[in-house]
């Protein structure tokens, strides 16, 4: 039934639209969107789910039969099955609604990942030669390497976070009906940001994901810090959106074009007012710098990361960064390459400040979520090195870095969630004492995630740092890479401090054991496996990354 709603209107839309729509370019997003709408409707229907479920099942059946009649047998059958399973489960297990929601959302995300793979195999890399790119909706969307990797990172992050956060939300009694649909909407916004190829789409996608995240971070209505986080995020987010929009407007004024390729080709012309374009670029940098928490636009990050429910924090840290960077990559590499002499030094300076500031301030933090928040800031700095390189290698290394960072971050926050459930509150370093003795596996996974974030060999983070540093050096930014190295050593110190607290100190007998639910252990185990796999044998993925530089320009 999930696919039903949008898929059902597909032929209708196709008739109405003046031009043909390349559905394959947005196929992965259709599933979560449809599921988000259905779940929202179910949420609104409250106790009368059947009012939503039955029509949805009927629509699903119709769409499924139509698909089968079009000789798309397997997806058609899946649609029918899902369409009937949902209302059936709603009737059969009226008390397990949140579990059904979580499973439905996970199913949609799995479907999105499968469709992303299908898209890669059929559209992006139909031959072994490498990746091509696809333009859709008259250039509003670009389906290419950036889009592919953003999708993979975002869908994977959401898929890992769902089981990790399930028990946590339940225990804090914030597993409300809007959580899953909002999460799916965020994901769709992020994926759309990864494909957005003009300023309007970009802005709309950014707002979709931001607004859903404002709500999600304020999920804990009785927790004052969660409310503070939500409000802070909202106010500062709105300001930054306004700045971004102002910048986009200036860029439009200067170039007369909204789509990135058009901006890119006209921005170098003599007729383009350079000052206006540069001003627009500066404002866009500030606005987007806020979204990816680049110093000095990062001030919201520690408070919001600390206050928001931890699973939302993990998702924000991992996925928002990936999506934000997708926009950054497109803006600077497609729209503004002509102003390279302007933005490369600025971004390099911001990267240097970000890397050092994040690492140094993290040293004096006692709260684990805050430490990880500052670590997230530091990592934005590393990822920016790849953007600053302004080369194919820089582009691909950034995409790869974001994926490895997302997995490491989710692993780390996942373990924090287990600890937070023990304590029902903030997690300070003290809480970790002797965890290596009381729950060695959890401590091991947390340590592994931290080693990955620190970039130690045999973890995914090492390959990430390697590629980013390599791109930086190849672009002649050795000084920036040296700063990156210094910041890595400082960062290693606070990661080690966490590991040392777990393994080198004795447990406090008064403290209880961390609460590890099945979902949480599943999520963090998958993250840990990916960390080692991508760290030891990254070849299958790197092969794809290497060809990801074919952009719609």
């Amino acid at each position: 039934m999930s696919t039903s709603l949008l898929s059902a209107v597909t032929p209708l839309l196709a008739q109405m639209a003046p031009v043909s729509v390349e559905w394959s370019a947005v196929a992965p997003e259709l599933l979560p969107t449809a599921m988000a709408l259905v779940l929202l409707l179910v949420a609104i229907a409250r106790g009368r789910e059947l009012i939503v479920a039955v029509p949805a099942a009927l629509i699903a059946a119709a769409v499924g039969i139509w698909l089968i009649s079009m000789a798309v047998v397997v997806p058609g059958a899946v649609v029918i099955a899902v369409g009937f399973a949902l209302p059936a489960s709603a009737v059969a297990f009226p008390r397990r609604q949140s579990l059904i929601r979580a499973f439905s959302a996970a199913a949609a995300l799995v479907g999105a990942l499968v469709l992303t793979g299908w898209q890669y195999a059929t559209v992006l890399a139909p031959t072994a030669g490498g990746m091509t790119s696809q333009e859709a909706l008259q250039g509003a969307l670009a389906n290419d390497g950036i889009a592919f990797f953003t999708r993979v990172t975002v869908y994977l992050s959401a898929l890992l976070i769902l089981p990790i956060g399930y028990g946590y939300l339940q225990e804090r009694r914030i597993n409300r009906a809007e959580v899953e649909p909002l999460l799916l909407l965020t994901v769709v916004g992020m994926a759309a940001l990864g494909t957005a190829n003009d300023l309007i789409t970009m802005f709309v996608a950014l707002e979709v994901l931001s607004i859903a995240l404002y709500v999600l971070s304020g999920l804990a209505r009785r927790d004052r810090r969660s409310q503070e986080a939500s409000l802070k995020y909202f106010v500062l987010g709105a300001v930054s959106s306004a700045i971004l929009l102002y910048g986009m407007a200036l860029v439009y004024v200067a170039t007369g074009s909204l789509d990135l390729a058009g901006i890119g080709s006209s921005i170098g012309l003599v007729t383009t007012p350079r000052v206006v374009a540069a001003l627009g670029l500066a404002l866009v940098t500030v606005g987007i710098g806020f979204k990816i928490s680049l110093a000095p636009f990062h001030f919201w990050t520690p408070d919001v990361y600390q206050g928001a429910p931890t699973n939302i924090t993990a998702f924000m840290a991992a996925a928002t960064k990936a999506a934000g960077f997708a926009a950054v990559l497109r803006l600077y590499m497609v729209a503004f390459p002509a102003l390279e002499s302007l933005w490369v030094p600025i971004l390099a300076g911001l990267a240097a400040i970000t890397m050092l500031y994040g690492a140094i301030v993290a040293l004096v933090q006692g709260d684990l979520k805050r430490i990880l928040a500052y670590s997230a800031i530091t990592h934005a700095g590393y990822a920016i090195i790849g953007v600053t390189a302004n080369s194919d290698a820089g582009l691909t290394s950034t995409l790869w870095y974001l994926l490895t960072y997302a997995i490491g971050t989710i692993g780390a926050f996942g373990c924090v969630i287990a600890l937070e459930r023990r304590r029902r509150g903030e997690v300070t370093l003290k809480e970790l004492r002797g965890l290596g003795r009381t729950s060695p596996l959890l401590a091991g996974i947390l340590a592994l995630s931290l080693l990955s974030l620190a970039g130690i060999p045999a973890t995914a983070g090492f390959i990430g740092k390697l590629l980013v540093f390599q791109a930086g050096i190849a672009a002649g930014l050795t000084w920036l890479v040296i700063i990156g190295v210094l910041s890595s050593v400082i960062a290693a110190f606070f990661y080690l401090r966490i590991a040392a607290t777990m393994f080198l100190e004795e447990p406090d007998p008064e403290r209880g054991l961390p609460v590890v639910s099945t979902g949480l252990s599943l999520g963090v185990s998958v993250a840990a496996t990916l960390i080692i796999y991508l760290g030891v044998y990254p070849q299958p993925f790197l092969q794809i990354v290497e060809t990801a530089a074919a952009l719609v320009r």
């Binding site: 290596g436 003795r437 080693l451 130690i456 060999p457 045999a458 090492f462 390959i463 390697l466 590629l467 540093f469 390599q470 050096i473 190849a474 050795t478 890479v481 040296i482 190295v485 210094l486 890595s488 050593v489 290693a492 110190f493 080690l496 401090r497 040392a500 393994f503 080198l504 044998y537 990254p538 070849q539 790197l542 092969q543 990354v545 290497e546």
Partner: protein, 501 residues
Amino acid sequence: MGIITITLAIPVLGALLLGLHDGDDRTSKIIALVASLATFVASIVLLVQFQVSDANLQLAERLTWIPAIGAEFSLAVDGVSLVLILLTTFLTPLILVASWHSITDRLRGYLAAFLLLETAVIGVFAATDLLLFYFFFEFSLVPMYLIIGIWGGAGRKYAAVKFFLYTLLGGLLMLIAILYLYGQTGTFAYSDVLALSLSATEQRWLFLAFLVAFAVKVPVFPLHTWLPDAHTEAPTGGSVFLAGVLLKMGTFGLLRYALPFFPDATTEFAPWLLGISVVGILYGAIVALMQGDIKRLIAYSSVSHMGFVVLGTFALTTTATSASVVQMVNHGLSTGALFLLIGFLYERRHTRQIAAFGGLAKQVPVMAGLWLTVSLSSLALPGLNGFVGEFPILLGTFQINRTAGVLATFGAVLAALYLLWPYQRMFHGPLDTADNANTSDLKPREIGVLVPLVVLIVAIGLYPKPLYDIVEPSVDRVLTEVAEGVDAAGDVLGTAEEDGS
């Protein structure tokens, strides 16, 4: 799969097995010991297959690893890496037996950490791909950090973090240099990088980056400050492995990478490095003399001894540089044995203060005899292994720089002082306190651990030729590469020789 990969894989498989099984401590110990012995056997097979007359990297194995970025899982050995691999596989089972009863807390983790460490170190010595080398080089930090941090002494946390951060910083600077070289070649293959011709400026900076990484590891004065802490706080096995093998990763790296990659820079900086080594030799010796803690004393003696190794390496003559490789092995054996003895004594008395001991020779004659033998080997008494390494180093240094030679010889004299004086204070004199009178002598297991070391100490001392035969061709190859590189670049050699004389 070739013999090097097998040697490399056995310990990590043993560690995996340790992680999977749920048995008691005894089974764990047996698994670890069997794995380390199997590794030793594999390395003996490696020795048998090794062509002594061939100076090149041999028994090469290549597997695809990350072709997307031009990194390969390629391994090969030359004489230098072979003897160091043998040293590693020889010391590991001894270390495991030595800590048979002393480690009871989280034993499985301890054993697994040692096996992982062994794999990492063998990987460092055998890798012929720069990324693979770096991979193992940095990975070795993690198990060693845990060994010091979890099973170490009172100040273990500080020592472990200091060790980790020092080495990480050096390593990352080397990573930048590796990535720069990668930018030139497009692969990480050793032979490709060797074939590069770099400008003098490039060489200078890249050499310094490699130098920092390796100098921290050796450690070269003034980057040595992590070593006394790490050595003192590490458990006995950790100290033995650190002194015996991990420090050699630094001197090995200099010889394998820094010298042949950057010949101009090598000859340019060689006089400076001779000077720094001499300072390190004397500094380490003098500070060792002032230590009240016997383990800390031996730690500083390592700074001094490794100074000799670096001195020999940068003398850049076949005699001295080969001797410095032999000295790496010697230092591993004698300092390793000393740390074992200190560990055994500590288990009995729970103190390491020299002042707490006295007249022990009457009470523990076996320990005293072994201690004296090993000390004499460490201070380079003719007939024992230290002499056959240290003497040619001094000889070679004399030939190129008399002042450095004379000063370094003072270091050798001081070694006699800082090794024999504590021996005298601890083992001779009146047996005055009750603690001393109740100290028990070595048990058969402990003697069994030390005997192989002492046998090698004597054997190398009396007949070092086989060791030199293995090492010399490879050292010659490296020095030829340096000389050819310099000739190709022109006049730099002339000025370097002037500086050196």
